[in-house]
Amino acid sequence: MTLGDGAAAGASQSREDEFSAFYRANYQSALQLIRFRISGGDAEALLADCFLVAWQHFSRTGELRRGWFFGVVRNKIGDFYRAGQRREMLVDDWDPHESIHDPSANQVVSLDVWRTLRRLPSQHCEPLLLAFGCDLSSAEAAQALGIRESTLRVRLHRAKRAFLSEYEPGAAQATGESGKGVAAWIAQND
């Protein structure tokens, strides 16, 4: 091996390390997002395809950005639907923890949260999933959704309100009208 070969091997190893770290950091979030949206398919296979795209992109450009990556994931899910592989998933079928086999004491509450998310229309659940479920920044979630960051903030606001209204319908009903429900929701905020 020449000196140049050694440098090339070192650069290659460094690149693989960087990609591996990205893979580890984002694997579960992305898998969760895919499982949330599809059933009857091989979520891990679809995710592997997403990461292969990311690896190719990284190899060409040296870029690994989460907003970009989750945009790929969203569109792979779209391809899955368009390919006719969709099977409707019942709310009670889905368990975000199914790959872990490590139920926690918080799991009952967690399932309520996830089931609530599943009942929301996509314009609400997608921003919530990306921003809080996948822990993307506003800029990253906006890129993944293909919208402006300022738009994302407004959509998140509306989505959070819709989520709480669905999660705690009693609180909203008690006020008798939506305007007061919003006020109640704001009052609940930290």
């Binding site: 990609f19 091989d42 592997a48 190719q56 450009t61 989520f163 930290d190």
Partner: protein, 329 residues
């Protein structure tokens, strides 16, 4: 962090960084695949064995690299062309006045304007670099056609509907763009109806500068560590939904004067030809939020986001990545 965010974050599986055997195997397979051309494999793996599936999509990828190389599409070819972005505003320094003096003058002007808060229509022009990503990972560059949005307001506040129209497009040099493939200016794109409970800013904005920051944060959450960024993005959201009274506009300018990370970039002429004062938050992660205030009225004229980092290849640096300008404000 509010209750909804806290609930969703706490419901996430506590397994960050953990990889199953399969995930580990997939990672090794991906790293072993070399630099390859994009697959369009989709997810044909349903019902196949894991090992068989992995072999299938890697074989497809390997086949495609042969094709890519054989037709001269070297893998090191630049992946994405840079997206066209709108022209940057040119600012002139205002060396004779401090930020505090400028804001004090604008606050007085804003408070002296006629009250237009009873109007029922907000008209904006906006553009944003969407940078959507397709399933093959290619960034689908935004077109530079801006939109003109006409929002109809309810009597009790909030937007009842908005309609987007095609607005005049300009290239990066600022020249009007028209011709084949571009929709005619004024073409209606879409109309969106909004329910009453979709209103973001339920309470009336304050007339006390000391309460404006809390008001914005209560409605939208303080997403940035920079109060200036929160103020600029927040006023943009607010003015998309409400027309402020003179007292409320003056209170916002007064609130800006209290921010410790706001800077004065200078004077300029906005995209509608109006003289404006340009203020800016700090550059964070290569991005800077800017606020345009009409020099003659003290009314907010627009917001812009400018990218000036070095980690993107899809756009030039610096470049405008989004803007909103108010025809009515």
């Amino acid at each position: 962090m509010d209750r909804a965010e806290r609930l969703i974050r706490s419901a996430r599986p506590d397994d960050a960084g953990r990889l199953s055997e399969r995930a580990q195997a997939d990672l090794e397979a991906i790293l072993g695949s070399g630099v390859v051309a994009s697959t369009t494999s989709g997810t044909e793996a349903v019902g196949t064995s894991r090992r068989g599936r992995g072999a299938w999509w890697l074989a497809a990828a390997a086949a495609l690299i042969v094709v890519a190389v054989s037709v001269g599409l070297g893998p090191l070819r630049p992946a994405e062309a840079r997206a066209a972005t709108p022209p940057m505003l040119v600012t002139q320094p205002m060396s004779n006045e401090s930020l505090a003096e400028v804001l004090a003058g604008l606050q007085v002007k804003a408070g002296a304007q006629p009250d237009r808060s009873g109007l029922r229509q907000i008209v904006t022009q906006w553009w944003g670099l969407a940078s959507d990503v397709n399933a093959q990972g290619t960034i689908v560059a935004s077109r530079v056609e801006p939109r003109r949005r006409v929002a109809e307001l309810r009597a009790k506040g909030g937007i009842s509907s908005y309609t987007d129209y095609v607005a005049q497009a300009y290239d990066t040099a600022g020249n009007p763009v028209s011709g084949a493939g571009l929709p005619a200016v004024g073409t209606r794109i879409e109309t969106v109806e909004l329910d009453a409970d979709q209103q973001v800013f339920v309470q009336a904005p304050p007339t006390d500068p000391g309460r404006f920051g809390t008001y914005l944060d209560d409605a939208l959450g303080a997403n940035s560590t920079s109060p200036s960024v929160n103020a600029i993005s927040g006023i943009g959201a607010l003015l998309s939904e409400r027309i402020l009274t003179p007292g409320q506009s003056a209170a916002f300018i007064g609130y800006l004067a209290r921010l410790n990370d706001l800077s004065l970039l200078g004077s300029s002429v906005d995209r509608l030809g109006r003289p404006v004062v340009v203020l800016a938050g700090p550059v964070i992660s290569g991005k800077q939020w800017r606020l345009l205030i009409e020099a003659e009225t003290g009314i907010v004229a627009g917001t812009e986001v400018v990218y000036s980092g070095s980690d993107r290849t899809d756009i030039a640096s610096p470049a405008v990545t989004e803007y909103v300008i108010w025809e009515t404000s």
